[in-house]
Symmetry: D2
Subunit: 146 residues, 4 copies
Amino acid sequence: MTAALVMSLDQLQARLSRNHMAAWMGLSITSAAAGRIVLSAPWREEFISNPEHRFAHGGILATLLDTAGSYAVATRLGRPPQTIDMRVDYLRPAYEATLTVEATVFHYGRTVATVDAQVSNPDNLTLAVGRMVFLTADQRAGRPAS
Amino acid sequence: MTAALVMSLDQLQARLSRNHMAAWMGLSITSAAAGRIVLSAPWREEFISNPEHRFAHGGILATLLDTAGSYAVATRLGRPPQTIDMRVDYLRPAYEATLTVEATVFHYGRTVATVDAQVSNPDNLTLAVGRMVFLTADQRAGRPAS
Amino acid sequence: MTAALVMSLDQLQARLSRNHMAAWMGLSITSAAAGRIVLSAPWREEFISNPEHRFAHGGILATLLDTAGSYAVATRLGRPPQTIDMRVDYLRPAYEATLTVEATVFHYGRTVATVDAQVSNPDNLTLAVGRMVFLTADQRAGRPAS
Amino acid sequence: MTAALVMSLDQLQARLSRNHMAAWMGLSITSAAAGRIVLSAPWREEFISNPEHRFAHGGILATLLDTAGSYAVATRLGRPPQTIDMRVDYLRPAYEATLTVEATVFHYGRTVATVDAQVSNPDNLTLAVGRMVFLTADQRAGRPAS
């Protein structure tokens, strides 16, 4: 992919940190390229769903996938886009550990972009995968975004 | 649906309140029947994604859909099941307000259950819809759950 | 829904019959309203996936869901739109019988429309359900369709 | 992936050819490994959806994705499994050409397997991608398949 990164990593991180949910989760951008981003999330006790088995709520993994997908598009669009829809497949429980989520835009169109993302643990096991469609057109005017 | 509610509303709420994420979100069960549940979520500033437009992060809506879906199955299974996969469609922004999520099991099989859920605002506008598959088989033994 | 039906049932059927795949399947429109359509598909031996159990291929059910979804949007848009993405949940085998598929637009936006559809057998059992997103914007100009 | 191929390519092709729909589409298996399969589909005029633009119906691409996904699981399970659910993202129109579909099992569990698949044209452009969940447990007994 030869498209340019239209926001610097610092600009992307600044924008992400203003997102209350991302700030609460302590999300930081590890790397960014055009159409690709990696985020890191330190563990929080509030992530836990099942208190005996102590794995994270599926909603936390979905939040990571959605956020990373949106910022992967932002690297090309210049702003995080609206999510149209998302599929999440849960593969393994997310136990207490820093979680990493990586997202890649695999189809960038004038109206929508299609993105794959995956959440991994420090052992590089994939815990969940997401496939998402984001709106790249300017929704107010209904015109393409760029 | 003539199946019995295998956990009382108090039992369901007690189980839900032990879920750290649900507790952080302040989720309460408004009503429960066999294969159907309604949850209520008071607003939190941490839900906000876009700080100017002040709507909730899509991950919060996904968390509500997943939680309600899981507890809709729990009304029949006796415990909240694992989520296999989830689709979320985002229809409208979720602005500051108490959010309501309703989930209904529309196919309950020996191995998986299929569930629809929707998040609404106090004006009864649907903000997001989810479709989910949960594991009803006993995963340790690989036998059906009941 | 108070939107008008922008194509008559005869116009919709004429358009559908020019679709080679729909013609091969013998699809006929049973009823149409703004944002809603019902199609009927007579059985064909070629639909069969498993020759012993003689149920239809999942792809046939997906084709019915996609076609009905597209024509549900066409009742408002004036033409069958492009499908952006589709989820299909398979609930029961589709044995030899006329299949009915009903689709309803539940969110019609300037850029995309979101649609639910279900395939039923003559006993009114739901065999598969679909949720789809279609492009309502004019893709050439990237402008909204209407 | 070190799992063994439990059906030979000839056995897989023999089984596939007994599937009426696959036979009608003329599907042939190009290559098979444990958890991975490639199928080829010659063009048919009946695939066409839009008679002016002459691209294939989305249902044909869904049928290819579902079939390839099922046979990717069959390489490990010894039989094509039931599809639980499928997501399809349509990326580009499928114009007249031999279509290739490749599927890979990326998570194989005792109860379900999760599979990615993509349809490509002879220029190696991806036309559609699918993500599917198949039942690997023995559904009659509700026991794991192996």
